[in-house]
């Protein structure tokens, strides 16, 4: 059977312009999808492979307080290996520069699972730092200009030698959003540093490892003894937040890839139409020679099948390159060593590509099997195909299936399908309206009017082209201009003198001196707020039962420790929503003011009594007001604020935020020197890093959208090519009748320019509206309509589409008319 002869089929495909386009469109769709799939697969496998190493143990207890010695004794009794670690943010000082770091102090047995990797001047080691030494992350060394083995780093009251570079630590997990670099100490040094005050932000971990039976016994023993706020983690629930983050990233990138695929799908549909139009004559001849309709169809299906397969393989290869770029952009969020790309994403790409061909190409191809043999005599006899709406319905159904398959979330899939359908319907309806308006132009003569009338003569094609161009421009606008708009708006929303340093952990005895110093230097600050770590234990006398809350947020608030503050005066950005602040003649009364969101989560209202446990002391007071808080003001704000009367007798530390400009920058160092226990957090690098993360994330999405750009170009070319044969004949007849080249070029420019103009206007409109919704709904930013979106959409739309039309027609003008007229 000659249809099995693959090279021949592929050669034929190269010769046919429709199939060439189809090949490219499938390639682009598969490349977009597999680049995301390869990347996500590598990250997921990295997580699976790390397994226990992610926890550095088999079982981990984490809490805000030190562990009861009885727990360690029990672990020893059961024969379990154990090690403690403690983590907290702090500011260290080296070479006169302060830097916020994430300190982690570990006992010598750490890690119980996985491997610690440290480069020291004496070579690589896997052991914890000795007393008086520290392992530092590479970027910490770079920022502070440390010389390993030489520079000493001041940590609270003590100083340690930077003795090695921390390359890898097992329970770091994904360092996604971990902004501050790591400094690892020996557990013994932390106690000496004096940084572990009663109100500091510390997480204690107890790592346990051993046989499954003993671990289960330890778990059973621990569970009834765990204080509220403690968490038990094992392999089954290791790093759920990281898994969620990766799944979200994968979904989002998949959505971007699907946009490219949708455009590629439209290109496939158009290219198939052109292929079938050209194949009908040959099919009619085959039928007169005795081949059945089914036989003809089978012959073409084989050809298409081989072509799709080749395109999928090429697409997967292109995807392999694409994912490498994603790894470069995002890979270091997930640790350095990702496993090599696997086979599965390539197979996913294959299934995806073949499904695209089945959905977007095969329904149109069916026509070729229904060609009447009589066409050899009467060329105007067409082959009946499926109804136009049915062809689109099949394509839409298959594409919806592919969305669902890729995003694994039916709400998201339906949402995206609806958004795309709305965009396409808007474009199609606008196209129809445009045609109505153009009808009168058919009566006039000039070359531009002739070109415009051409749009009205092929209504279906015009609508299709408009949908293709419009969707392409919309997606590109949304990703480039709107992204820039949103980031700019976000930056503009930060107040000019927003506090950029936080002072944490100011002890009461240090407060008068420190406050006087700040005020004497005239440094803007947000006030000094007494705070303490507290746990909610009862509401109106009823013990808090986390299980009784449906929402995860409420459960967390009900179990976790959080900061409680006390203030006589309300913060300026707060607003009372219910009840009254205690400055109305009731300063002496005990009361709490609760932030509205938390009040709603916990289901509390004015008049309910809240009872807190503060380091063993129990305090209770009624809620006297509910407040709204402007969290983006960068002021110091708290969910729950108590009246000064509540604070009496409680262990508190003070907290403040300052604005330091470039001139007063050295003040931070001075503070750290004079008040070693106070943590000075410089927010500027964090803001910078948040911006970098946003930029990199956006770049990654843009990278995937590069495929959209290529797909949009393919749709444009495909849409121009569908009408190429008719256009060639039209040009030849017009030239025969005496139309000049300039006349024809003007007609084409007018036709495609108008198409681009309308597509650009609609795209700018769709992109502006969706950009507005994204800003307002997703990022809580003030929405705005940027002029750039409109200028770029309309300008680029008109010019690019007119250019494509001109390029597609230019060659036709060079062919002598007689050759075209004789060709069929």
């Amino acid at each position: 059977m000659n249809h099995l002869f693959v090279p021949g089929q592929l050669r034929a495909a190269v010769r046919d312009p429709g199939l060439r386009l189809l090949f490219l469109a499938v390639l682009v769709a598969v490349a977009a999808l597999t680049s995301v799939a390869f990347f996500a697969d590598r990250v997921e496998r990295a997580l699976e492979r790390q397994g226990a190493a992610l926890l550095a143990a088999d079982l981990v207890v984490e809490q805000g307080e030190p562990f009861d010695p009885a727990w360690l004794a029990q672990a020893r009794t059961l024969g379990l290996a154990h090690a403690r670690s403690v983590m907290f943010p702090s500011v260290v000082l080296a070479n006169d520069q302060p830097l916020l770091v994430q300190i982690k102090a570990v006992e010598p047995a750490y890690p119980l699972r996985g491997r610690l990797r440290v480069d020291t001047p004496r070579g690589e080691t896997g052991s914890v730092p000795a007393d008086g030494e520290a392992w530092v992350e590479g970027r910490l060394r770079d920022r502070l200009g440390l010389v390993v083995g030489d520079t000493r780093v001041q940590v609270g009251d003590t100083d340690v030698l930077a003795a090695g570079i921390l390359v890898d630590e097992p329970d770091r997990g994904g360092n996604l959003f971990q902004l501050a670099p790591r400094l690892m100490l020996n557990y013994a040094d932390v106690e000496r540093s004096g940084l572990l005050g009663p109100a500091s932000r510390v997480r204690h971990r107890l790592l346990l490892a051993g046989e499954a039976g003993e671990l289960a016994a330890m778990r059973d023993w621990l569970e009834p003894r765990l204080p509220p706020g403690s968490e038990l983690a094992d392999l089954a629930n290791a790093r759920p937040e990281l898994r969620t983050a990766i799944e979200r990233a994968r979904r989002f990138l998949s959505l971007a890839a699907l946009c490219a695929s949708l455009l590629a799908g439209v290109a496939i549909l158009l290219a198939t139409r052109r292929y079938v139009d050209r194949a009908l004559d040959g099919a009619a001849v085959l039928r007169t020679l005795g081949m059945s309709g089914a036989g003809v169809l089978r012959w073409h299906l084989w050809r298409l099948g081989w072509l799709a397969l080749a395109a999928c393989v090429a697409g997967a290869l292109a995807g392999l390159f694409g994912q490498q770029a994603l790894v470069v952009l995002l890979g270091n969020w997930f640790g350095e060593a990702l496993p090599p790309p696997g086979v599965r994403p390539a197979l996913v790409g294959l299934v995806f590509g073949v499904s695209m061909v089945i959905g977007f190409s095969v329904p149109t191809l069916l026509r070729v099997g229904r060609v009447p043999p009589l066409r050899v005599l009467r060329r105007e006899l067409d082959a009946p195909g499926l109804a136009g709406w049915l062809v689109w319905l099949v394509a839409a159904a298959v594409f919806f299936g592919l969305i669902y398959w890729q995003v694994r979330d039916h709400r998201l899939a339906v949402g995206m399908a609806l958004a795309l359908a709305a965009a396409i319907v808007t474009l199609m309806l606008a196209g129809r309206l445009l045609l109505r308006l153009l009808m009168p132009l058919r009566r006039t003569g000039g070359s531009a009017a002739l070109g415009l009338a051409a749009l009205a003569r092929y209504p279906q094609l015009t609508q299709l082209q408009l949908a293709g161009f419009g969707l392409g421009i919309t997606l590109l606008l949304l990703l480039t201009v709107v992204r820039i708009d949103i980031i700019d708006t976000w930056q503009a929303s930060l107040p000019a003198q927003a506090p950029n340093h936080f002072l944490i952990n100011i002890q009461p005895e240090e407060l008068p001196v420190l406050q006087a110093l700040v005020e004497q230097r005239g440094i803007p600050h947000s006030g000094f707020h007494p705070t303490t770590r507290a746990r909610l234990v009862a509401i109106s006398g009823r013990p808090v039962d986390p299980e009784s809350y449906a929402s995860m947020r409420a459960r967390r608030m009900a179990t976790r420790e959080y900061s409680l503050s006390f203030n006589a005066v309300m913060q300026s950005d707060n607003r009372i929503l219910a009840g009254q602040w205690w400055d109305d003649g009731r300063e002496g009364a005990a009361g709490f003011s609760v932030e509205e969101g938390i009040a709603e989560s916990l289901g509390v209202k004015v008049g309910d009594a809240l009872t807190f446990d503060v380091a063993g002391q129990v305090v209770s007071a009624p809620i006297t007001s509910l407040r709204s808080v402007a969290w983006d003001s960068f002021n110091v704000n708290f969910f729950v604020v108590g009246s000064p009367a509540v604070a009496e007798g409680l262990p508190v530390a003070y907290l403040s935020s300052l604005y330091l400009d470039d001139e007063s920058d050295g003040f931070a160092v001075e503070l750290i020197r004079r008040f070693p226990a106070v943590s000075v957090l410089d927010l500027r690098p964090i803001l910078q890093q948040v911006r970098e993360i946003m930029e990199r994330g956006a770049l990654a999405v843009e990278l995937v959208f590069l495929f959209t750009l290529v797909a949009a170009a393919l749709v444009t070319v495909a849409a121009a090519q569908v009408s190429r044969d008719e256009r060639a004949r039209e040009v030849a007849v017009m030239r025969t009748l005496g139309a000049s080249r300039r006349h024809l070029v003007r007609a084409v420019l007018a036709e495609f320019g108008l198409l681009g103009l309308i597509g650009g206007v609609l795209a700018a409109m769709l992109a502006s509206v969706s950009g507005y919704l994204v800003a307002v709904e997703l990022f809580n930013l003030p929405g705005r309509f940027g002029l750039t979106t409109w200028l770029l959409g309309i300008g680029a739309g008109t010019v690019v589409v007119a250019l494509v039309g001109w390029l597609a027609t230019r060659r036709l003008l060079a062919v002598p008319p007689m050759r075209v007229l004789n060709s069929g």
């Binding site: 139309a739 000049s740 007689m818």
Partner: protein, 210 residues
């Protein structure tokens, strides 16, 4: 070109057609009749030789100049009609008038269509018309600009005998009225006989001129 060898489609053609004359180019299939017609009308370019149309040397003119020469002065009727499928009968006939920048193109076109018996079918698309009707639209289009020269390439080749005869009657009738030069390519001896002169072509060479 075929297999690297040069193929002479036409050779040793030396002919002149005078204004107002009706000349038939007669010959079997593949004798080069249509190619000759295309060259004479400036729709294609010869690799060697010289063609003059309406006292202008076509070889010295650009494609655009040739198009401008054709506009309004030359008409065509093709075997396969060559109507634009997206345009109505009226729009097809008005097209050369619009290209030539004539006023009241649509009114003139409507008059011509009425003359060829299609006054009731102005807004029909080509696919809604029979072969004979399509060719009548093509004839109306050819005469729309009142051309000085009319080129007709097998105008009855795709029609049954009856329709063919009616088309030729129509064509000759209109030609008599405006007095244009006619070049008719055909393999039908009877049709050729209606012309003033017959040029016979075989294997790309002129056999005789009668």
């Amino acid at each position: 070109m075929a297999d690297g060898h040069t193929l002479d489609i036409l050779a040793a053609i030396d002919m002149q057609v005078n204004a107002g004359e009706a000349v038939a180019i007669l010959g079997p299939s593949g004798s080069g009749k249509s190619t000759l017609l295309g060259l004479l009308a400036g729709l294609d370019e010869p690799s060697t030789g010289r063609v003059t149309l309406l006292e202008r040397d076509l070889g010295a003119m650009s494609e655009d100049d040739r198009a401008a020469l054709r506009a309004g002065r030359v008409g065509f009727v093709f075997q396969s009609f060559q109507l634009l499928p997206g345009m109505t009968a009226l729009e097809n006939v008005a097209l050369p008038l619009q290209i030539g920048g004539r006023d009241a193109a649509r009114e003139q076109a409507a008059g011509l269509l009425a003359e060829v018996g299609l006054g009731e079918r102005l807004d029909h698309l080509p696919r809604q018309l029979s072969g004979g009707e399509q060719q009548r639209v093509a004839v109306a289009r050819a005469f729309a600009g009142e051309p000085e020269v009319l080129f007709a390439d097998e105008p009855t080749g795709n029609l049954d005998a009856d329709s063919g005869r009616r088309i030729m009657d129509l064509m000759f009738g209109l030609r008599d009225r405006i007095g244009c030069t006619l070049l008719l390519v055909t393999h039908d001896q009877q049709l050729a006989a209606r012309c003033d002169r017959v040029i016979r072509l075989d294997g790309g060479r002129m056999q005789s001129a009668a």
